[in-house]
């Protein structure tokens, strides 16, 4: 622990006031712990107090209040070895809400998705899906319970056709057994025709019926993204998790995607929770937004609030120089104060706790 503190002091000693470069400013944030950058080397379990209680309905759109939230996450956290990737993540998502999860690269957004779908087992915390705890469930159970997801790096069944990709997702609603499948009984024929029709309907939502017979791997990038969303939708979820749905899309495709996501929500009456870097999409369709940095929630709220939140701006762009000077002066004043009071040791060994001083 002592070493770590030394290291922290080292970084605090680096003078970066001259450089106005945003990247270097971000380094400073990383080792300053005012925006949650303490995840790496400070054991912060005791220090942390959740910003909002997990069941706070304030962050659900009005239309969803009073109903059981589709997703409630309470103090979720995961450690990889000694590294805390995500800590104290709280979330409440309404039944038909479109929620957004944003944050700089490496903030732990996909890790949260992986925990929700039980690709990773969370180290701490609880997840309530549709009012029930998901403890002990695996990825397959989670999907059967009604949570479907897409992936950041597209994961399609490349050697199957577009139509088959949807049909695979429909396999839980396809009612025939192995013997029917091997012998192609009338039951098989009936069911296959039914799910082919259904698959075509899904393809029609995204206007992809004409590519039904192409191998999924041979589709253009945007079409592959849409196919992945369709496939997730075909499992008939109550909650759709989209991991960067607009990545690699051009602006017009993104606008189209926004409309589609909204349409899916309105017509299927499901909740959507998405990770996205494209701010036009996030600000355009999300009703509630959570901002993550270094595995911690740094802000929560409506799009307008998030846009003007200084912590968020800091996380994305780094601190402004004026503010940094201000803070430094404050720090100096704190130290001087402490010095005067004869508490030099405590101030020099650790960083003064700003919350107390403020």
């Amino acid at each position: 622990m002592a070493d770590k503190k030394d290291k922290r002091d080292e970084f605090r000693d680096i003078d970066i006031s001259d450089s106005g470069h945003a990247y270097e400013n971000r380094q400073e944030i990383y080792y300053n712990d005012n925006v949650g950058g303490r995840a790496v080397f400070v054991d912060s379990k005791e220090q942390y107090e959740p910003d909002e209680p997990y069941n706070d309905e304030v962050f659900i759109p009005e239309k969803d209040r009073g109903k059981t939230p589709i997703l409630q996450v309470k103090n979720l956290g995961i450690d990889f070895g000694g590294l805390t990737a995500v800590d104290n993540f709280n979330l409440t998502l309404g039944r038909t809400e479109i929620g957004g999860l944003i944050g700089p690269n490496g903030a732990g957004k996909t890790t949260i998705f992986n925990m929700l779908t039980k690709v990773y087992e969370p180290t701490r915390g609880e997840i309530f899906f549709d009012g029930k705890s998901t403890k002990g469930m695996n990825t397959v159970d989670i999907n059967k319970a009604g949570m479907a997801r897409t992936f950041q790096n597209i994961r399609l069944f490349d050697n199957l056709t577009v139509e088959e990709n949807i049909k695979v997702a429909l396999h839980h609603t396809t009612n025939y057994g192995l013997i029917d499948g091997m012998l192609h009984t009338p039951k098989y024929r009936h069911e296959e025709f039914r799910i082919r029709k259904e698959a075509m309907k899904y393809l029609k939502i995204f206007g992809m019926t004409k590519t039904a017979d192409y191998k999924a791997g041979s589709l253009p990038y945007g079409a592959q993204r849409r196919l992945e969303i369709m496939r997730a939708l075909a499992t008939k979820p109550k909650l759709l998790l989209l991991d960067e749905p607009a990545a690699g899309m051009n602006p017009s495709e993104t606008t189209e995607l926004m409309d589609t996501i909204r349409e899916i929500r309105d017509r299927f009456q499901i909740a959507v929770f998405l990770i996205e870097h494209d701010m036009s999409l996030v600000m355009g369709i999300c009703e509630g937004i959570v901002v993550l940095n270094y595995g911690r929630v740094i802000a929560k709220g409506w799009p307008e609030e998030i846009q003007s939140n200084p912590k968020v701006i800091e996380a994305y762009l780094g601190k402004s120089r004026g503010k940094m000077k201000e803070e430094e002066e404050k720090e100096k004043a704190d130290i001087e104060k402490a010095f005067r009071k004869g508490r030099l040791e405590s101030a020099a060994s650790g960083k003064p706790d700003r919350k107390e001083s403020e």
């Binding site: 690709v119 999907n143 992936f151 994961r155 056709t161 695979v168 091997m182 069911e191 589709l219 017509r267």
Partner: protein
């Protein structure tokens, strides 16, 4: 809710698309055509005397190897796992079939009925073997799975080496493990340890074997184009995505493995009925590799390719028996050449160019396809 939305979408355009996208139908047609033509050619050849005696003796093994190649393709090609113990399932089927045939001899005199019962029992026992071996190993992947299946094949063979079966005077089946059964005449023995099965009445004919191959092909092709087959292929393509849409990975891998084992057991049963004596040593590691070679040479996942490879690699060594000394040498060279030609992109492209020049019909088709793809790409964008 979802149903209500889907109801509003018309499926008027469906018939068009449904007709077009029958790649499986194409594959099935090619496979059945190969089977039928092969049967017709060999049968006519045998009747007119063009096909020699030696080769006629290979008819049943050809069919058996073809159906083994088809069933192994289910594991290697469709499920994407390497299995090196296919001969083990074949051995289980062969010896089960021999015992069942011998026991039923006194009750059922009609050979085809007896054979069908033997095939079903062989399939059942082999599938149980597949299930028992499948449960622990399917949590393994890739090389590890291959190693365990290899060991399984060897275990089965060594197990057969110490098995003794016989029918006593009263017609009861007697069983002994690791020691000979006493008070039994040589004729009454069914399986005698390492010597294997003796005194088997040959019941397999070319037609029966061909029917079995057709059945195997029917099952595998149907399975491939069903809910289960799609799930198996989806897991092969992307395990994580498969789990995310709720596919039970172990269950579907096990289905592929067990069905493949059952079909191999049936093929083995037919194989056992083709020889008057059959030693367990026949089902050694080399046989497993031989079946795998059929699959790899025909193209992993390509069912009719595997069929052709199996037939050729069984016929050719027999046809060139006079060059037996050089057989393994040329075999190796041919294999290496084929591997190079199919995996080297430069050579592959050159072969394809030549093929296009020879085959103007195919060239036109390809161009048509490209145009269509371009169009659809534009529409998708």
């Amino acid at each position: 809710m979802a149903e209500r939305l889907l109801k509003n979408i018309s499926t008027r355009g469906l018939k068009k698309t449904a007709k077009k996208g029958m790649q499986y139908r194409k594959e099935a047609m090619i496979s059945y055509a190969i089977l039928f033509i092969g049967y017709a050619v060999l049968q006519i050849g045998a009747m007119t005397g063009i096909v020699g005696r030696n080769l006629q003796g290979q008819f049943v093994p050809i069919c058996v190897y073809v159906s083994l190649a088809i069933s192994l393709n289910l594991v290697v090609g469709i499920s994407g796992e390497l299995s090196l113990g296919h001969a083990g399932f074949m051995a289980v089927g062969a010896f089960t079939g021999i015992i069942v045939m011998r026991v039923l001899e006194q009750y059922i005199t009609i050979v085809p009925v007896r054979l069908i019962i033997a095939l079903l029992v062989a399939a059942f026992v082999a599938s149980i073997a597949g299930f028992i071996i499948g449960i622990p190993i399917l949590s393994l992947r890739g090389d590890y799975l291959a190693i365990v299946t290899l060991a399984f094949g060897e275990i089965v063979r060594n197990f057969m080496n110490v098995l003794h079966f016989a029918l006593d005077d009263k017609g009861h089946l007697k069983f002994a493990f690791n020691h000979t059964i006493e008070g039994i005449t040589n004729e009454q023995r069914i399986i005698t340890g390492a010597i294997g099965a003796t005194g088997v009445t040959k019941t397999a004919t070319f037609t029966y074997a061909m029917l079995l191959t057709a059945f195997t092909l029917f099952i595998v092709l149907n399975l491939k184009n069903s809910k289960q087959g799609r799930a198996i292929m989806a897991i092969r393509d992307n395990r994580i995505a498969g789990e995310s849409i709720g596919l039970d990975v172990k269950k579907y891998k096990l289905i592929a493995f067990v069905v493949s084992a059952a079909l191999a057991g049936m093929a083995g049963c037919m194989f056992g009925q083709n020889y008057s004596t059959l030693a367990p040593v026949k089902f050694n590691f080399n046989t497993s590799v031989l079946i795998l070679v059929f699959v790899v040479l025909g193209g992993i996942g390509n069912i009719w390719g595997g069929m052709i490879a199996a037939a050729l690699l069984t016929i050719l060594p027999e046809a060139f028996r006079q060059f037996a000394d050089y057989r393994m040498l040329t075999y190796a060279i041919v294999l290496i050449l084929v591997m190079i030609c199919t995996y080297n992109p430069a050579i592959k492209a050159r072969i394809q160019n030549i093929w296009k020049k020879i085959n103007p019909l195919k060239r036109k088709k390809d161009e048509g396809k490209k145009d269509k793809k371009k169009k659809s790409g534009k529409e998708a964008e």
